[in-house]
């Protein structure tokens, strides 16, 4: 396998501190017994202790192991080793056979993966489970009833009055929603509280949010009539998670999945990573979500442009479906180019159709053809334009495209577009 790019290594770092620590260690000095094969990179790193840490990296996962006690994953030693490896200056040389400790680990990993695939799903007590669900439903019923009343009170008194409330008042509302096991709504209320103090068009934005929440409240009242998909969408909006074991065993599709783009965000409370995948044959697009709270690291990011041989299991709900990796992905390629895109108007139609199915959808993945990026907008060949979402800097993608028409992959949200990857300039 060819060596990764430097950016690829940077992306797998769980956070900036680990990357910085890795960079410090990425000098040949503390390393010994390093080497790499097609699938493995390994080395020993002299730390403060007597025995050096053993670091092994399986490039196919990628997966990491290190004998250090760090809870960061991958740890600074693994990052440093990869940084040395990508440099390709001979400090981590290619050899035919892996070192013993690395080979053993790779073998155990393979055995364990095989074992877990063979192991039957955990037994659950159906009665206890039903009881738990019933309790939760009762609490959610009461919570949404309260929330509905809060909404009507709010519009009776007027939203100007609501804007005068301090953040703590909104936070109190959110806390009650968390108690009622409605964390998804709670999150949206907290977001809104900061939005209305930040935005000029806060009144319009608030009215729209009220409409969406009202829809959710009313839909919950009639949940017996909802089809399975809409109910699943509503559950996501309210924050009732689907257990991963349930997903893993249900709707799984094997295939070759191309990583279209990825996005990481950190709002101080929660880090989120979205990875958009597209099945090479069918063209289906799914999103894999990873979360990490506080200082815990996110799982390693997938490289954009790579193709993964894996089975993904899809969560219930409407398009775009959330998915998880049901089997350990195997890297089948690294240089896939973006598939063909559409016009911006067609993308807006897709967005509208998505909302028609799921009014609570936050964003849709879109591939745009012959799109031109400027510092503030994305333009398509017909002259239609959509503003870029302000949080991220578009300059790197602008430098890559030179504002020439290219295929652009990104996320279309209510207020704008977030470019995540670009194809070669035409």
């Amino acid at each position: 396998m060819s060596r990764w790019s430097l950016q690829a290594v940077e992306k797998i770092a769980p956070d900036a501190a680990s990357l910085a620590a890795g960079r410090k260690l990425a000098t040949p000095g503390p390393w010994s017994e390093t080497g790499s094969t097609e699938a493995l990179v390994w080395g020993k790193c002299q730390g403060s202790g007597k025995t050096p840490y053993q670091v092994s990296i399986d490039l196919n996962g990628p997966a990491y192991r290190c004998s250090c006690p760090s809870r960061k994953f991958p740890c600074k030693h693994a990052i440093a080793l990869l940084l040395l490896w990508v440099r390709g200056d001979g400090s981590v040389a290619d050899v035919a056979e892996g070192a013993d400790f690395a080979r053993e680990w790779a073998q155990t990993r393979a055995e364990r993966a095989a074992a877990s695939a063979a192991r039957p799903a955990k037994e659950v007590d159906p009665a206890a489970r039903a009881k738990r669900v019933e309790d939760r439903l009762a609490r959610m019923d009461a919570g949404l009833e309260d929330f509905g009343l809060w909404l009507t009170d709010l519009v009776r008194a007027g939203t100007v009055a609501a804007k005068r409330h301090p953040y703590a008042w909104w936070d109190g509302v959110a806390a009650r929603l968390v108690d009622a096991q409605l964390p998804g709504l709670a999150e949206q209320v907290r977001d809104l509280a900061s939005e209305i103090h930040r935005r000029d068009d806060w009144a319009d934005h608030l009215l729209g949010r009220l409409g969406l929440w009202w829809t959710a409240t009313r839909a919950w009242q009639r949940r017996a009539e909802l089809d399975e998909r809409t109910l699943a969408d509503l559950r996501v909006c309210l924050g009732w998670a689907t257990a991963t074991e349930d997903v893993r065993t249900a709707d799984a599709v094997p295939g070759r999945w191309q990583v279209l783009g990825a996005h990481r965000s950190d709002d101080g409370r929660l880090q989120q990573q979205r990875t958009w995948l597209r099945e090479v044959e069918s063209g289906e697009i799914v999103v894999v979500l990873d979360f990490a709270a506080g200082a815990n690291p996110l799982p390693a990011a997938r490289l954009v442009g790579s193709v993964l041989d894996t089975t993904v299991a899809r969560y219930p709900g409407s398009w775009p479906r959330r998915a998880l990796f049901a089997t350990e992905p195997a890297l089948a390629g690294t240089d896939a180019t973006l598939p063909a895109g559409t016009s911006l108007r067609a993308a807006l139609d897709v967005r509208a159709a998505t909302w028609a199915e799921n009014p609570w959808a936050a964003r849709v993945p879109v591939l745009l053809a012959d799109a031109v990026l400027s510092s503030t907008h994305l333009h398509d060949a017909t002259g239609a334009a959509v503003p870029l979402l302000p949080a991220e800097s578009p300059w790197t993608l602008i430098a890559l495209t030179g504002s020439r028409p290219t295929t652009v992959f990104g996320e279309l949200e209510e207020t704008g577009f977030r470019p995540l990857a670009v194809g070669p300039a035409s």
């Binding site: 410090k24 009144a203 009202w214 509208a352 909302w355 510092s375 907008h377 504002s403």
Partner: protein
């Protein structure tokens, strides 16, 4: 329909702002339908849900925005992939530490420029960001940004420096009329720039504002004439000797020390010559008498009052030695410069001689004087090959790190082999701390050849340095430079 919908949404928003207790909720426009029996709050929330869904689903793209101009085609090929990796490495996770990164990036940029390559597109943003923070990178960066880079920088105000061609090179001289309005520091800077290409025009500018400028400005602008000074500047300097302000007079005296053919030099030479004589059996001792009280003309030439604690006549002697033609000494004693310096014992006279030799960049006197004194400025007047031997002697006796690098810095890098060897040997014999070392790695990095890397690494090992120690960084840097060069071939 859109218009009706907009009006309705506005009215609905109005009702929401003040509350349904005070404002009626507007009826849903045809052909939309709403629950007829709903209370006002419910009707408003229903309306909000419906209206929001309609408005966002029907949102139209903007159509009248200008599409940005695409970047023009680059003229150069992108740097080879090995070089790209190295630049990426330097810009994102430098192995040589913050002190030497700018230097290493500059090497990369200059090599790329010389080999006819451009910066790859993916490195443009990190490079522009780095050069925005570090001005030293800008000139070299500009040359290899190519069309894409210039185009990109033109779109982002933070990178406006890219288009400001030549501010560092000095071709952006202000109009004389505007020049007079600039801040004094900037006016002086512009004069210095102009003096490097057209000294007469620079002097003319200073003269044009001479009668209006206040004393501090006159002092600063006159000092700026030190760049590219020549006998043509003498009339203005003579005039400045009569200036009202002491600072201006003193600046003029100092500048005239650099003009041995000036009338002032002749005047001071005439005062100095009778004081110099030889004595001893072989007439090898050079004797100087202290000057008598100066007349008004001599005071005007710089024989003024000494500061407290300084010998008055000693100062006069120093000023005479600094201002008089150096030939005064050889003529009065019949000795050559080296013999004059060897036979002279008067500290004031010697100090004046050093000033004279430095100001006039006289290599013969500088050589003679630097055999007696260690003075980097004197060595600066010597051809490089003459510096090396003296610097080496100095280094062999150096007792501290600062002495070693201070001496070595007199020779511009890359150093000749004998000097590099001397520096490396001495580095192993003096003590230092990592902090002291961090301050001087730049000098070592510019001077030492790549082949010194193993020696530096050995030194670091014997000092049990940490991987982040400046010595390891330095070794990394020295290894990196030939790798960078190699990567463009």
């Amino acid at each position: 329909m859109t218009e009706t919908l907009d009006t309705w949404w506005r009215d609905l928003g109005g009702a929401a702002l003040v509350g349904t207790a005070r404002r009626t909720v507007p009826a849903v426009p045809e052909p939309l339908v709403a629950r007829s029996d709903a209370p006002a709050e419910t009707a408003l929330l229903d309306g909000a849900a419906l209206g929001h869904a309609l408005r966002r689903a029907g949102a139209e793209p903007a159509l009248d925005l200008p599409i940005p101009d695409a970047a023009p085609d680059d003229e150069r090929p992108p740097a080879p992939s090995r070089a790209r990796q190295l630049l990426d490495l330097l810009l994102t996770q430098t192995p040589v530490g913050p002190g030497l990164t700018g230097r290493a990036v500059t090497v990369w940029l200059e090599e790329a420029g010389a080999a006819g390559f451009r910066v790859p597109h993916e490195s443009l943003v990190p490079l522009l960001t780095a050069a925005t923070a570090d001005r030293g990178l800008r000139t070299a960066a500009r040359a290899v940004l190519d069309r894409r880079g210039h185009w990109l920088a033109g779109a982002n105000p933070a990178w406006a420096w890219v288009a400001e061609q030549g501010t560092e090179a000095g071709t952006d001289l202000a109009d004389p009329a505007d020049w007079a309005l600039l801040a004094t520091d900037e006016r002086a800077r512009q004069i210095r720039l102009l003096r490097t290409t057209d000294p007469d025009a620079g002097r003319a500018l200073v003269e044009s504002a001479w009668s209006n400028d206040p004393a501090p400005a006159r002092t600063a602008l006159l000092a700026a004439l030190g760049t590219g000074i020549s006998p043509a500047d003498e009339p203005l300097l003579e005039r400045a000797l009569d200036d009202r302000a002491g600072g201006v007079r003193e600046t003029a005296q100092n500048l005239l020390d650099g003009l041995p053919t000036s009338a002032r030099a002749r005047r001071l030479g005439a005062l100095l010559a009778p004081l110099v004589s030889t004595s001893g059996l072989l007439k090898k001792k050079v004797h100087v008498e202290l000057p008598a009280d100066p007349d008004a003309a001599a005071v005007r030439d710089g024989l003024g009052k000494a500061l407290r604690g300084r010998s008055q006549r000693g100062l006069w002697l120093e000023r005479l030695a600094a201002g008089a033609p150096l030939e005064t000494w050889t003529t009065a004693t019949g000795l050559d410069p080296a013999a004059v310096v060897a036979g002279l014992d008067d500290a004031d006279a010697l100090r004046g001689l050093v000033t004279a030799a430095v100001e006039r960049a006289d290599p013969v006197w500088a050589a003679a004087l630097s055999d007696r004194f260690w003075d980097p400025q004197l060595l600066g007047c010597l051809p490089v090959d003459q510096r090396v031997a003296r610097v080496r002697r100095r280094i062999e006796q150096a007792k501290s790190l600062a002495e070693i690098t201070g001496a070595a810095a007199v020779v511009p890098g890359p150093w000749p082999e004998e000097l590099s060897r001397a520096v490396l040997q001495r580095l192993g014999k003096v003590e230092w701390t990592a902090y002291q070392l961090a301050d001087v790695t730049f000098v070592l990095a510019t001077g030492l050849p790549p082949s010194a890397a193993p020696a530096i690494r050995k030194l670091a090992e014997s000092a049990e340095a940490k991987p982040s120690d400046p010595l390891y960084r330095l070794a990394q840097y020295l290894t990196l430079v030939p790798t960078i060069r190699e990567s463009f071939r």
